[in-house]
Symmetry: C2
Subunit: 215 residues, 2 copies
DNA sequence: ACTAAATAATAAATGTTATTCAATTATTAT
DNA sequence: ATAATAATTGAATAACATTTATTATTTAGT
């Protein structure tokens, strides 16, 4: 392994060690010494690549999100229908989470609620992912597959909010069962929410708001 | 103000200062000195009431959650119908969040994703609140108001997940609009999700699963 | 192959901040 | 008023992120 390659490998190794230790102990209780040791480097060497402990934390998602993003974009080209695309997108997201639980813990338990991180370049990849969901919803509304009478912002909030809530609970409970078991029931709930019933001319209640709610 | 009263008042003052400063800077960047100064006390005095900085953080929600819990329990006695009760419960939660944005930031941005906090006594009050939601859902399923064919866990995950997602986004975007503006559209989405359509004997599609999804 | 420059790597030094402790002031009870 | 107790704090300690100065290693020119 030559110079720059070795360097890249070492950098990756630090990022991996950081992911593992941050996910286990949280940002607070993880120390640079511990991470450096796990990566086989000295404390000071960590600072060659990452200006601060926080910058090290913020550097974790980039590569993951890019990989997930590209993977989803590739598969979506092969899928017809907005609801099917949405299904595939959320499924791939959940698969990725379930296969990378340490990264997921860092992302959902530490980063996603961090104001500083949100205003970082590194957060761009996460917004790119959300744009895919928005695109699917838009396509579905235009094609008539998905309800048009709800602000798409609330649709997306419900989809992403439910999914992340379930993943976060899974993480906090110590990942007892296979995360993928939750996917179909959850997506079924979401379908109820977003998907128009097929046209039924003799049954007008189906295609309009029809439920009165006493005040 | 006599001894023990003064003490309680000072303790509250520290908690308030901590809430404010934690919500502004995050746990990381807030210092005990800063909190002590804001509360008009010395650094060492903070440790009279709170054993560690983390314990101070964990002590913030108790009183808030108790107040919210009692308030909801009181009002629910006056309301008939599971969906109405759910509406009122989520509404009161959102009102509380919107009226106590600093506490809400501490709760939703710092505490809710903290493994140590989850295993703390202080977290009990939060579980009590969730039990109210569960009770409403159960009542609704039993009375036929709410779909019985979905695991209630996913219903609750969707309700709470959506609501918190919206509140977290509101916090992270700097609380630009009135949070309550989001409530009715959000609850409408949730109703689509949970509420059975009224019985329509001549329209069997309404009361059963009827949507085929191509594979 | 040899050396100068550049780069990689680290040990030790520094500064900040949570936490503890010993000392001081205020309050209460007798 | 005085002893006893509680409240309060300034100063000491320790852990840890970050910097600096120094040493080892690689690279490129001859």
């Amino acid at each position: 392994m030559t110079g720059p390659e070795k360097t890249e490998a070492r950098k990756s190794k630090i990022l991996e060690a950081a992911t593992k230790i941050f996910s286990e102990k949280g940002f607070q209780d993880a120390t640079i010494s511990e991470i450096a040791k796990a990566a086989g480097a000295s404390d000071a060497f960590v600072y060659e690549y990452f200006s601060t402990k926080e910058n090290l934390l913020f550097s974790i998602p980039r590569e993951h999100m890019q990989k997930l993003f590209e993977n989803i974009e590739f598969h979506l080209k092969l899928i017809r229908g907005a609801v099917n695309k949405l299904h595939a997108t959320l499924y791939m997201q959940l698969i990725y989470y379930s296969e990378h639980p340490e990264f997921t813990a860092v992302l959902l338990l530490i980063l996603k609620h961090n104001r500083k991180f949100i205003n970082t370049d590194a957060h761009k990849e996460i917004r790119d992912y959300l744009k895919i969901v928005d695109r699917c919803l838009k396509e579905g509304v235009e094609s008539g597959e998905i309800y048009a009478d709800i602000d798409p912002y609330y649709l997306r909030a419900t989809l992403i909010g439910s999914l992340e809530h379930i993943v976060i609970n899974w993480l906090l409970r110590g990942k007892p069962e296979n995360l993928m078991d939750a996917f179909e029931p959850m997506f079924e709930v979401c379908l109820k929410l977003i998907q128009k019933k097929p046209e039924t001319p003799n049954c007008p209640l189906l295609s309009q708001k029809n439920v009165e709610q006493e005040p």
